[in-house]
Symmetry: C2
């Protein structure tokens, strides 16, 4: 079964459980709206790829870890779109959850997705319960305080911002959790896998920065995107687009070089480099091809 | 060490971890504001009392379970106070979290408290990891979907409400989790302990209904409180205050009678009955004494 099929099946199982007998129907629908139709599923695919490279001896555990990570990613998007944060009307071309339902249901959908992530871990590890503690701890750290997604988002409310901590927490933490959890799901010593996730998280951020600047150019005829308007740091504004591209390539190479010895190391190395290329806006990867 | 000391120590440890090196200071402060100074701590005290009755052979596990339950209770209050729900300016006589900080930080404080609850469970069970799965599953079910606190809150956004499901989810679920988790923390078969929590949760709801009606009487000279204004069901409006008091007594008796055989059953029975009496507004327990 391919990775996307495994991920969608695991996410569907989690949402079927959440929307089970007695569930308030609108909240169940809001949770589904937050998770489907799918985006790129970058983080859970990364989790599965690492687990596969390490032998993936308990696929149900891996699927649960991957689904938990994606549920938490979706939860963070739902709350991030709220009027008190980015006030985004759309997400993936459709109304955001608070626009399609209500602010109350968007807050609750995020809450319930966070809880569903941890419940998914307990269900998925029921036949390998020894793998639960490391997975739950890894994933909790990546989304909570002091250095997970919630911390990253909170830096936007601080009078002075530690930029490196901000990006590490808001984007990097869940990428790092994806590789660490992938290894933990496969029963392998997980910490050596952290660098791979961290470098890919940075690469993702740089690609996002490039996309933001190019979108600004296309729309306004000058290299100023949403980040600039919101006063956020942006690598492509700081180093220029060509400089940011070189930085992204260096990060991808560092990610590939960090892969610890494992049965599937060579394949994972190739996948890492090709996925990093796919992060770029479509026009650019065509131009580069 | 008495129960409250254990609970406050465990909550402090969880918040110290959340506010650790690199944490954004305002979110760390908002989380603390949500948890301290303490309210009655009814749910974690119930968890500790059940564990004590069952032998409490791993106090660190019990403390983690109790703290996780209280962190989740506090998280639900923070989100419940938001403008899109109850729009409450105060909580326990102080500004609510969104009034003291901001809506953004209140959303994030709730999120981070939910995550901290699960992290607390993993840390507290590190020397008894086999107890983690049942605890994490019990507590996740009590706060998520389809029948936990988030589900209970969501019934307020549905066009038609299943009242029994609403109250079971919004209030009962975390009381039931407190007794079930107390038993699981002590390594005892947990499900027989569910009825105790459910009956005490119902008793708590009835006491709250009585308090709401009496507050309305004191303020407006007629038995109509906030529940009535918000169109919420209220047992004291439905049966009258004396009828609701008889119902509360019957629930307390049913709770006490449901206690499964265990070393501390007699003591727990007395505690259950005296705590149920303490649920009533202060004037009434004096009048009844």
């Amino acid at each position: 079964m391919d990775a996307i099929t495994r991920i969608e099946r695991a996410l569907n199982a989690a949402l079927d459980r959440a929307g089970g007998p007695g569930a308030p129907p609108r909240l169940a629908a809001a949770m589904r709206h937050a998770v489907f139709p799918r985006g790129a599923r970058i983080r859970p695919r990364l989790c599965l790829a690492v687990a596969a490279a390490c032998g993936d001896d308990h696929p149900a555990v891996t699927d649960a870890a991957a689904a938990a990570i994606e549920l938490l990613h979706c939860a963070s998007l739902v709350h991030d779109d709220l009027p008190c944060f980015d006030d985004a009307d759309t997400r993936r071309g459709r109304p955001s959850v608070h626009r399609a339902f209500s602010q109350a249901l968007a807050v609750l959908a995020g809450d319930a997705l966070i809880v569903a992530a941890f419940e998914t871990l307990t269900v998925g590890t029921s036949r390998a319960p020894r793998r639960l503690p490391a997975l739950a701890r890894t994933i909790a750290r990546a989304v909570g305080m002091p250095a997970g997604i919630a911390a990253g988002q909170a830096w936007e409310s601080e009078p002075s911002v530690d930029l490196a901590a901000y990006q590490r927490a808001k984007t990097g933490a869940l990428f790092a959790a994806a590789t660490v959890a992938g290894a933990a799901a496969a029963g392998v010593q997980p910490e050596p896998w952290r660098t791979l996730g961290e470098r890919l998280g940075e690469a993702y951020q740089v690609a996002d920065d490039i996309g933001d600047v190019l979108a600004g150019e296309a729309e306004m005829g000058k290299p100023i995107g949403r980040d600039s308007a919101l006063g956020r740091p942006n690598a492509a504004l700081q180093y220029g687009v060509p400089g940011a591209m070189r930085h992204l390539e260096a990060l991808a190479a560092a990610a590939a070089d960090s892969i610890p010895p494992c049965p599937g190391a060579a394949e994972l190395r190739n996948l890492t480099l090709s996925e990093a290329r796919r992060l770029l806006p479509k026009d650019m990867s065509l131009a580069a091809a």
